[in-house]
């Protein structure tokens, strides 16, 4: 008997997802978060798992954890106090950033204050040229001066990021040596070791985020390791990464930047896994929580990756699963402005006090309250029985707007839902235009506490034909950790025309491959199979941005320039709808992803049954401007192959699914509900 445990720690709950590798049984558990005591909830969760399901901690063969500790450290600005050592005369790299401001029409638009303020940025006497040659040798005296001033200012660590450090790391290494020798108490990260790419701001800020979260992440993972030991779990814990893979928690203590987006990425991986298990290859994953919705695009079963994902207000330039965050969640507050227009969000009641209907002191009308008023909620204990529904409070809160809109409370609630759907429609529309995709070829995979509530309404608005609601929508992120591969990214900046670069490409690829395999085997002790996925960031000469082009390893080994160029032109045409086979092409970076395969659990098959599912009873809901009677289904009772038709409500302990008319649902072999939008006249 053995178990694999996926754990996702969010703001309110910890989700546990447990696979019994012998029976393929999936169990889930939610525990309230105790932010003051990291590790305590894990101990509590393991205790409850063993109590409730008889799971022996010693039988846990892998423990995979997704956490928001990294991203929260940045958002709450509770990270390390650090100094930045950079090249003299370029000390404003963080203040100036890329110059552009976040808002274009506001006279008050501001950049966020850098994580290292200018008084702790020190310019060193040294200069490397773009070709890596030394213009001015490093003056060790300037390092010592900077160190004196930094320690006088009280810092825990130093980030070293020098101009052209990606091309020639010699000076960064010399500085790090001096620091490690003369100030062994300080942690030191250099920009070339974190992510050695051209572009000083991007490289520097990425190294800074790594250092900024390092002490807290290391402490957190340390207490996680201790907690597991105390619980009797002997397996080395793994953490999920921004790139959708996993790595050992031990490595996470220093490669912190790679796990900053751990939580959001595993949601997408989990969503993509569920989609695939239903035979869906192209999907939009929609994870709606209390304050926001995370949207991602899955094409051919794979999440899309990007650079520059936002960590709070700061961009992170390592390959990460691309997730767009929208400010609409179950707790988003509705209001009426002075022209009488109904607005929803971006203000949110969050999880504290939460929606009015949670009865925890909230009195503002939220999206969740609107669903409650319409009669969709309250038929089943919410959020694993930790919340009970106060319908009167929901009505009172929505009622404050009803008077101003001159509508009934129910009509107002439905209007709140419609406005919310239209604003999410707008955001997802932008995403599809950015990717140039046609949503009619995509299914909406919707999860998170509020996803299945809104998903079908949104799909209808977006003209999407299919919606997938996973079996346990509340724990999809935890599931994502269970199905993720051991994965790491490697990069070598080339920055030359393709013709000039091709000579050294076979050697560069060999070097990357050697590093990748060393990481996989020596650091991660992976014994199973693996795959290598090389790619290159390429552009036409003169362009100021590049695209990632997947490449065949054989082309790199053999230096096949024609094949590489052809792949670039085709990719450029796919992404930007044009290409120019006569134009000169540059290779910016050669990249390599190594993925050590982890055996994927197969979701357990539900017992089959034929024909329509049996509702437990009828309920009254307000929908389409009238009170109607619709069937209520309980998720636990649904069987593989059963069908149901909208309008309907499906209740389960972690969410409520609202199915409008026009949708025909089928329960698939593993319990996911696949809803098809019928052509309605």
């Amino acid at each position: 008997m053995a178990y694999r445990v996926g754990v996702d720690i969010g703001g309110t709950f910890i989700d546990f997802c447990v696979f019994d590798t012998a029976t393929w049984e999936l169990s889930t558990l939610k525990v309230l978060t105790t932010p003051a005591d990291p590790g305590a909830e894990v101990i509590e969760g393991m205790r409850r798992l063993s109590e409730k399901y008889g799971i022996d901690p010693a039988a846990v063969e892998s423990f995979i954890h997704g956490t928001t500790v990294g991203v929260n450290t940045v958002i709450q600005r509770k990270g390390a106090r650090m100094a930045l050592f950079t090249t003299e005369n370029f000390s404003d790299v963080l203040e100036v950033a890329r110059l552009r401001m976040p808002e274009s029409y506001s006279l008050f638009s501001t950049r966020p204050e850098p994580l290292i303020t200018r008084d702790r940025v020190f310019g060193l006497k040294e200069r490397i040229r773009a070709d890596g040659s030394i213009h001015t040798p490093l003056d060790p005296g300037s390092v010592r001066d900077a160190l004196d001033r930094a320690t006088a200012g009280g810092v825990e660590g130093v980030i070293v990021s020098l101009l052209h450090g990606w091309r020639n790391p010699a000076h960064e290494e010399q500085v790090a040596d001096i620091l490690r020798r003369e100030a062994p108490d300080l942690f030191v990260f250099t920009s070339h070791e974190i992510w050695p790419v051209i572009r000083e701001y991007e490289r520097t800020t990425t190294a800074i985020i790594n250092g900024y979260v390092h002490p807290r992440v290391a402490a957190y993972l340390g207490s996680l390791q201790d907690a597991l030991k105390e619980s009797g779990v002997t397996a080395e814990p793994l953490v999920t990464k921004s790139n959708g893979g996993v790595m050992s928690a031990e490595l996470g203590k220093t490669s912190c930047v790679n796990m900053v987006l751990s939580g959001t990425a595993s949601g997408v991986i989990g969503g993509a896994f569920v989609a695939r298990s239903c035979g869906v290859e192209n999907a939009i994953t929609l994870d709606i929580g209390g304050t926001s919705a995370d949207v991602a695009v899955v094409i051919d079963g794979a999440p899309q990756y990007g650079m520059g994902e936002k960590i709070g207000e700061f961009p992170l330039y390592i390959p990460s699963v691309s997730v767009t965050s929208i400010g609409d969640g179950g707790g988003s507050i509705a209001r009426v402005d002075d022209f009488g227009v109904l607005k929803v969000g971006p203000e949110s009641a969050g999880s504290d006090p939460g929606p009015a209907c949670y009865g925890q002191g909230g009195d503002q009308p939220t999206i969740t309250d609107a669903f409650a008023v319409c009669g969709f909620l309250g038929h089943h204990a919410l959020a694993y029985e930790s919340v009970s529904l106060d319908m009167d409070k929901a009505r009172a809160a929505v009622g404050t707007l009803a008077r101003r809109l001159d509508r009934s409370v129910e009509e107002t609630a439905e209007a709140i839902i419609q406005v919310t759907v239209s604003s999410m429609y707008m955001e997802i529309n932008k995403l599809t235009a950015r990717y140039g995709i046609d949503l009619r070829d995509f299914a909406l995979v919707t999860f998170g506490g509020a996803g299945p509530m809104l998903g079908c309404f949104l799909a209808k608005e977006l003209h999407m034909r299919q919606v997938v609601i996973p079996t346990t929508p509340g724990v999809t992120s935890a599931l994502g950790g269970l199905v993720a591969d051991i994965r790491n990214d490697f990069v070598k900046t080339v920055f030359a025309t393709a013709a000039d670069a091709i000579g050294s490409i076979p050697a560069d690829f060999e070097e990357l491959s050697a590093r990748a395999l060393d990481w996989l085997h020596s650091e991660q002790h992976h014994a199973g199979t693996h795959t290598l996925h090389p790619s290159a960031d390429m552009r036409y000469t003169g362009q100021s941005f590049e695209i990632e082009v997947p490449l065949d390893p054989d082309w790199l080994v053999n230096g096949n320039l024609a094949a590489i160029l052809d792949a670039f032109h085709r990719r450029h045409d796919e992404v930007y709808a044009f290409s120019d086979s006569d134009a000169e092409v540059q290779i910016m970076n050669l990249r390599l992803v190594v993925a050590g395969a982890i055996e994927k659990p197969t979701l357990k098959a539900l017992p089959p049954a034929d024909g329509p599912a049996d509702p437990v009873r009828d309920v009254q809901v307000w929908f389409g401007g009238e009170q109607i009677t619709v069937p209520l289904y309980e998720r636990d009772r649904l069987r593989a192959g059963q069908t149901l038709a909208g309008p309907a409500v499906i209740a389960q302990s972690d969410t409520t699914s609202c199915i409008p008319d026009g949708f025909m649902g089928t329960v698939d072999a593993h319990g996911s509900i696949i809803l098809a939008l019928q052509e309605v006249s």
């Binding site: 100036v96 638009s109 200018r118 773009a130």
Partner: protein, 662 residues
């Protein structure tokens, strides 16, 4: 009857979705850096009458949410049919295009044969032909030098491209491939808009759609009027200058505004602004009372005061502009207009200044007001290759805000520019960047300090290296401070600074540099807001620690004495008392010594006299007479209205043809 307010919000979201989709489609598929990096394009949906009712917020330039296409729509022959796409880039045909590189497109959208909307927008072509590469130079004096122009006509007729017309354009421009690439992307965006509007009409019904877009404009109008209602009634006069009116004369160009707020509406009277110039910094408006270029500053003010405001033509309704003919803000054909963006920058400062008089408690001090992109054309000594590249923009900080310091480096109305990483520049262009960052002490002192300007310094290694930096300004007249705050430091351009060969180049926008030359650019600093002697000494100390303010300036400008890394409270208090006692009484604005000196000659009276004289003259005489009066004023010991009139009398004496206007 208006549609209900819930449907209105839903329609508003769908309109925004449509325009954002159009913008992303254009951005994704366009070829040129003007679209990809500078984002010099706009996208809109307009009513059958030509009013902009929806724009995107994520991408594009900020100038055209109130653009009205009504004049150009009727200039196209033969009415509109499904599949048509019309275009123009002529600044003098309907005043929609405002310089010739800007190509505007519009596509009619039909529902059951009825015209329901147009998708529209503009794109800045890197080059549209004419006298100079990129088509723009201050020195050009008539529109014909600024490239090929197309009066409004159909580029596509019922889906069929007019290839002959396209060939005419391609024959006349320097980078036809790039123009065509962008144009194709633009057509794709127009088609996206058409599809989206059709979806909206299907969803909402044609009646609701028609009424709804009108309601969206009423909504914006309501929001704008609410903001105006919250301002005190009154007439607020303000003037500001560009440093140079032309490359030939280099006298200041004055822009004047009387902002009259009356209840929930406002008049912007630009009388007193300079005559139409014999250079290309004129702003073509056709005298249209709601012209969007004259209201860009207003959009910023309204958006800043209410970030939820709808951006569409409805915003422009409460505002009426008075734009006298034959002036820099309403030039007559064929005045050159290519570099109108330089003047537009100052027009925004002008509007900000006037509003700061009306609502000082809610407005910031002047932003830098000058941003220019530095281009280098040089030869790689290793490969012998000629390299042309945009280096970095030289920008300045925002003005001190009511609640905080002005952002450093960029901000306020110059928020959209991106820089180029030093590492990329050096890898691609054979120059050495010696310094890139912020310029200490450049921000205007104030209780809330003005943002610092940027500092860019580089060395070139090849003979005949051409440097260009368009739109340079504010090297003479500083970004002003308000409410006791000081003006920001002006910008500058210096060759071989801190050497015996140092050469101050001021607003020069082109230069040939030789091997070993070092070029330094400073952007202007934003103006300060509030008395610097009231700034918390701890904030001054923090500025010193962060290198934004020098020890010297901390003492001299802020009266803060810092010793051993700490504020000396007692000495600070006594120094501040001394400085307060010695201070001159300050008005609402602090302009810095250059403008104060200038206005000793060129008082408001003197300008009133000049305006009166020039307004009476035929347009083709105005710039000449202005320049000669300036010559006389520069030579005179004292200025004022009398000197102006005397100078004109002498000029009329020399030129009998104009005596009748005396």
């Amino acid at each position: 009857m208006a549609i209900d307010k819930v449907t209105l919000e839903i329609l508003s979201n769908h309109c925004r979705a449509a325009t954002e989709s159009m913008a992303y489609t254009l951005y994704r598929t366009a070829h040129s850096t003007f679209v990809k990096e500078t984002e010099d394009f706009t996208i809109a949906l307009i009513t059958p009458a030509g009013k902009t009712f929806a724009i995107p917020l994520d991408l594009g330039a900020t100038w055209f949410p109130g653009l009205d296409y009504r004049n150009v729509l009727d200039m196209v022959d033969g009415g509109y049919e499904e599949g048509d796409i019309a275009f123009t880039n002529d600044p003098y045909s309907g005043y929609v295009a405002t310089h010739s590189p800007d190509l505007h497109l519009w596509k009619p959208i039909f529902h059951d044969g009825e015209l329901v909307a147009f998708s529209s927008g503009h794109i800045h072509n890197t080059d549209i032909g004419g006298a100079v590469p990129a088509s723009l130079s201050r020195s050009l004096v008539e529109i014909h030098q600024e490239g090929i122009r197309f009066a409004p006509c159909k580029l596509y007729k019922r889906g069929e491209l007019n290839r002959e017309l396209l060939d005419v354009m391609m024959t006349n421009v320097r980078q036809p491939e790039q123009n065509w690439g962008d144009l194709k992307a633009f057509v794709g965006a127009m088609n996206t808009g058409e599809r989206k509007v059709k979806e909206m009409v299907a969803k909402f019904g044609v009646e609701t759609f028609h009424q709804g877009v009108e309601d969206l404009m009423d909504y914006a109008e309501h929001q704008a009027r609410e903001i105006l209602r919250g301002m005190p009634d009154g007439a607020y006069f303000f003037s500001d200058y560009t440093d140079e009116d032309s490359e030939s004369e280099r006298n200041p160009c004055r822009l004047a505004l009387t902002l009259t707020i009356d209840g929930d509406s406002a008049t912007l009277d630009f009388t007193g602004s300079d005559p139409q110039l014999t250079s290309s910094i004129n702003v073509p408006t056709g005298g249209y009372a709601h012209h969007t270029l004259m209201l860009v500053g207003v959009y910023y003010v309204l958006y800043t005061l209410n970030p939820n405001i709808m951006l569409n033509c409805g915003l422009t309704r409460p505002f009426t502009c008075i734009l006298p003919k034959g002036t820099v803000v309403n030039p007559e054909f064929p005045a050159a207009v290519g570099m109108r963006s330089l003047t537009c920058g100052r027009l925004r400062s002008l509007v900000f200044g006037a509003f700061s008089l009306a609502i000082p408690e809610r407005m910031p001090a002047a932003p830098a007001g000058s941003s220019s992109i530095v281009n280098v054309m040089t030869t790689d000594n290793t490969s012998g290759r000629r390299i042309i590249a945009a280096i970095d923009p030289v920008v300045g900080g925002a003005g001190g805000m009511p609640h905080a310091d002005g952002p450093d480096g960029s901000g306020a109305d110059a928020s959209y520019l991106k820089n180029t990483p030093v590492e990329l520049i050096e890898a691609e262009v054979p120059i050495e960047i010696m310094r890139y960052g912020l310029s200490p002490d450049s921000g205007g002192a104030g209780e809330n300090r003005g943002g610092l300007g940027t500092w860019l310094e580089f060395k070139v290694f090849s003979p005949g290296t051409r440097i260009t930096a368009r739109n340079r300004d504010r090297t003479r007249f500083r970004p002003w401070g308000i409410l006791g705050g000081k003006a920001g430091r002006p910008s500058n351009f210096i060759r071989n600074p801190d050497t015996p060969e140092e050469e101050i180049l001021g607003n020069r926008d082109t230069l040939t540099a030789e091997p070993g030359d070092v070029l330094r650019f400073y952007g202007p600093g934003g103006g300060g807001r509030g008395d610097p002697l009231d700034r918390d000494p701890k904030r001054v100390l923090r500025d010193v620690e962060r290198g934004c303010v020098s020890m010297h300036a901390a003492r001299a400008d802020y009266g803060v004495v810092i010793a051993d890394g700490a504020v000396n409270a007692a000495e600070t208090e006594s120094l501040r008392a001394d400085l307060r006692a010695a201070a001159r009484p300050s008005g609402h604005f602090d302009f810095g010594p250059e403008r104060e000196d200038y206005e000793k000659h060129w008082s408001r009276d003197a300008y009133d006299a000049l305006t009166e004289i020039l307004a009476n003259l035929p347009v083709h005489w105005r710039f000449f007479v202005k320049s000669r009066i300036f010559d006389a004023m520069n030579a005179a010991d004292r200025g004022g209205a009398e000197t102006v009139r005397a100078a004109f009398a002498e000029i009329a004496e020399d030129h009998p043809q104009i005596r009748q206007y005396e």
